[in-house]
Symmetry: D3
Subunit: 252 residues, 6 copies
């Protein structure tokens, strides 16, 4: 099985290929690309609009490279709709995938993300995915995305603080990481929650789960419905030269 992870920002080194490969099955061949055009990080709708075109270009390239599925490495699921229109292979958004599994693992979930200003994005996504009623709250550690990795023990404590508050004040039963850059911290947060008197509260590492879903879908040959995401009509495009040149979707 061949999976492609697209990290939809231009900052190199944000996502570690080692972490990603560790999340995949041993027999999965996982590759990783970042963007040449777009923002350094995604923390607003403005940033997202700058990330989407190049992300979709990378999704199209992944299909051409013979990938079985492609995963967008960002909880904003940037390019999910446009990407699904452009290709036939499964395109996984970690937010969509994780909100669904969180809804199965408990009656309610909270998202713990980087910045409070992302709350609108998560409420919008929960509504789009039909799961608003399950989302107890969105909380943030107030660390900008690109500073996430600096001190991982401190990050675990801050995530556990917000998770505990989500349990005690918002009625949350499951925790969802609201930034794929938090990869690797779930076990630590679960342990810390247990120490604080809350054992058996699942903490979902969103990017790891997105990879699991890609593997499961590719295993079964499942693809998204082209009735929901039909191929876009061919037409003239000005600019966006980085879109794969000979595709039916490119500029003419």
């Amino acid at each position: 099985m061949k999976l492609r992870v697209v990290t939809p920002i231009t900052t190199h080194g944000f996502a570690s290929i080692v972490d990603l490969i560790a999340a995949a099955r041993p027999d999965t061949e996982l590759s990783h690309v970042e963007l040449d055009h777009g923002p350094a990080s995604i923390e607003s709708s403005f940033d997202e609009m700058l990330a989407v075109p190049a992300t979709v270009a990378k999704i199209i390239q992944a299909e051409r490279d013979g990938m079985d599925a492609v995963i967008i490495n960002c909880m904003g699921d940037p390019g999910l709709d446009a990407g699904r229109e452009a290709v036939r292979i499964p395109v996984i958004g970690p937010c969509e995938a994780t909100m669904h599994v969180a809804s199965m693992l408990g009656l309610t979930f909270s998202v713990i993300t980087v910045m409070k200003s992302l709350r609108r994005q998560f409420e919008h996504e929960a509504r789009s995915y039909g799961l608003s009623e399950k989302m107890a709250s969105v909380r943030a550690v107030e660390i900008p995305v690109l500073e996430l990795e600096d001190d991982s023990e401190r990050l675990v404590q801050m995530l556990a603080d917000e998770a505990q508050a989500a349990i005690e004040h918002d009625g949350a039963h499951v925790m969802v990481f609201g930034c794929t850059g938090m990869i690797g911290a779930a076990a630590g947060v679960e342990r810390e929650l247990a120490n604080r008197g809350y054992p058996d509260v699942p903490v979902i590492d969103s990017m790891v789960w997105a990879i699991k879903m890609a593997e499961a879908m590719a295993d079964m040959g499942l693809r998204h419905s082209k009735m929901s995401w039909p191929f876009p009509p061919q037409k003239k495009i000005a600019g966006y030269d980085f879109l794969p040149a000979s595709t039916a979707l490119s500029s003419i």
Copy 2:
């Protein structure tokens, strides 16, 4: 009062400045721009992603030019969220504006658009704007956006056919034009519906209403809440040189 209309495609001549000025009040100074970068028309999420960055650039420019409000000339409301983040002046999306007034003018409304494939877009918008329950159906005349103007009497008949079907089969009480390129056809469709036994069914020319809303908001000095659409954090951007150069939001 100074209004700016942004037509978020690269096809020149799609929107007629004469039609737009006719829709505004005599004392309104209305100007119009099209895109240099983006798609020839918008009929998919793929097209939309190509339209948004340049649309937002034009929205930022409109604020710099001292406009009182800016209107996006497309029922997909492309760039509405990112544009509102980037500026303080009101940004009007004709779909949002029209779905709200349609909800006031009747118990239910139907959208009559160009292509059936846009149904997902309108359902997504109705859900985002909280008005799903009011939307009886989305119907289409199956004319590609760029061929809309060819034969306007035929267009009125086709719009009336779908409107009649929406009344008889979907329980619609109000009609909403699902493409701003249909500007000018509302009176004809109302008349035709009356001829067919359905008088007093409002047909809303979405782009005209969007201009009315911009005028009304600017009259009162109303602006969107920056708690909902805060300014995006400043950061490095690769590409997108067409974004206004010295803005707080430009690449560094």
Copy 3:
């Protein structure tokens, strides 16, 4: 353009024609009437039932007088349904109009009204208009309607107190005045909120917005759908002599 404002209570001087005219465009001819039959103010469903028949009589009279639109000067929107049945011209309820624009100006809004006991009314209206999910809370300054005008600086402070609480405790992003008698206080409350650290939070003067909507609808010739509000069947009525005598709807 000719607009008629109906203040649906018998207390003279509650609404100032000066304030109303100031809210309209210079070229709008605005007239104002109060009720001869009904309650001194509206603070319950009981009061509302006493206000509706005479309000609808005034709405019918407005159409006969050649008005282009009529506005009900009360946030309970008394007589909105019956009035729309009785006439063809647009009938604007300030609560309906303002809840819709508030939904466009931010993700959530709070209503700041006179008395806590009106909460049921606003929740009922939000549900009827389909906007319950957008309404963060209903708060009250606990001043009876008829004492509103007494001390307007104190009123601004009290409105700002509740608005601040709505922001901090209820997650509100936009403020809606819950009584049309608060006309004129919006700019003061916005300023006060900015002083307290919340700039760029729109405060909507509901009655002013209702006038803007009436102007916008009349500009475009938009009217409510008679499929939603058909004319009532003609029949015998005992009492209610104040209903216009020769109307199709009067007693026989």
Copy 4:
């Protein structure tokens, strides 16, 4: 036990005291009043506004007369909110009561009423009572209210026709009479449905059920919450001399 039925129209003889007494328990003392002020029948919001003040006057009188509960004899539940504000004894609206029991007797229900134009009213009521999802459809026999009694065998056939259509086309599992003037026809319609191949489909005679609910509530001493329907504040009222003179609520 003492119950009062208020028929909220001025047409005498619409409701038969014999039918009403037959619906009550043998030990229930049931009395009946009609209106002196108001419409001949209720088929619109316009009619309803004319019925409410005198209906509430009769509800207040019922409490003064020592009634244990009062029932409004109309599926529009006119005066339910204002009436509950005005008194402490239970006020039963047959539409509210019947929609709730219909939701218990099956997964979905349809309302079979007199005129299609009442659909908005029933959708409004279903939404207010929180039961919209249970209501499969509103259908009508297209007989004006005051002509209902003319030919009861024909009425049963017409009700059965609509009930059968509701089962076959709308997915309805329970039938609700949408006019209290249909009292007495339920057994006939159930029999006719069984003849047509649909046994065991409950047909609810709304006015009979409303009387049962009044008896059950009075048996237990249950009353509505004054937190939901507080007494209206006392104030000046112009007109409406028929409101009980010495009540706290009367004009001063």
Copy 5:
């Protein structure tokens, strides 16, 4: 009229026949049975699954014994769906019946139950019955079911404490007993709430109301729709010898 109460647990003496008869009308013949197979009490889905088969056996037996209706004496409404499939006589679940009447007696209700762990059950029931929006909260006195009767004055105080908290913190206007074992305490709690400044707040004794509903339905001959709960197909069953032997539903 003949009613059968099924107490769906194996603990004898939990329900007092004296209390049950006191709740019924004088002319009602009420009988009572407990289970031979099942749990000592119901406080989880696990307990409920053990209670349902024998409960349904008792429901079938009730129909054979000529009962007019049967009431399940537990707020989890165990066996409501399967029981309604198995018989034609009305099967009353006290939770369903009480949530509906609570929705009529006020804008919101809270459930005061025995243990916080039952919250999921009540949320599930409110959702199934379509009344989630009316339920303000679920609160618990934290007394295990089987210890409820020990000290009834203390129980009234604890119920009043939670009711007061539901009013003050959750916005509840009506109280619902969340365990049928609380039978008899409603008047005391209402009195206590009045003492604490909250008069006119209805407190509903769920089991008493369930008996009232059974009487009302049987009075009118109302039964559940077999379109919603059709008879189960006949088939082989291994075990469950306590199911009535010759029924169409028994093992073959």
Copy 6:
């Protein structure tokens, strides 16, 4: 990885271990058990109540046997709540798992099941899982569960007929098998739909997907939240000797 499939009926040979193993990954050790106590098949709530206790016994046994996860082989998800209360290992219900993935693969899905009478069950499940809005319809081939295997080519045709009708009449974009006994037919139905002009419509083999989900969860060590499904309190149980004897949950 060790998975246990519990087929919750007493009919031997309904589920083929060969099919189940084919669905799992090569390195997964999959075992299978059927019930000793319960119904021959599940086609009603009555049948389900007979299946649940023994299903939960098998789930407890699976945890004792060291399984990593357990899957209930029935689209009614019988015992999902009680089973999750009783153990810590993941318990997968194929209906819950498949409705969630179907919501990701398209905008709407339809369930194609065995008998129309199961519609209530699927609507109940969709509501419980929060996905009602995504479910376009429930359709049935009208073959009793136990006759499913007889003629698999005919089954594929009948499934394709209903799937085609779901696309054309109900607006479905994704198909979900509504009985786990349909295992193995998905590829055939997809092919047949493509032949009929509907390529790229995913058809989800629910039981295969449930196994994929169990593998994915076990891979990551994800378990359900014990805050949502706490262990049931220990108490006396009469009967049900087949429940594992020494468990904390057994009868005392």
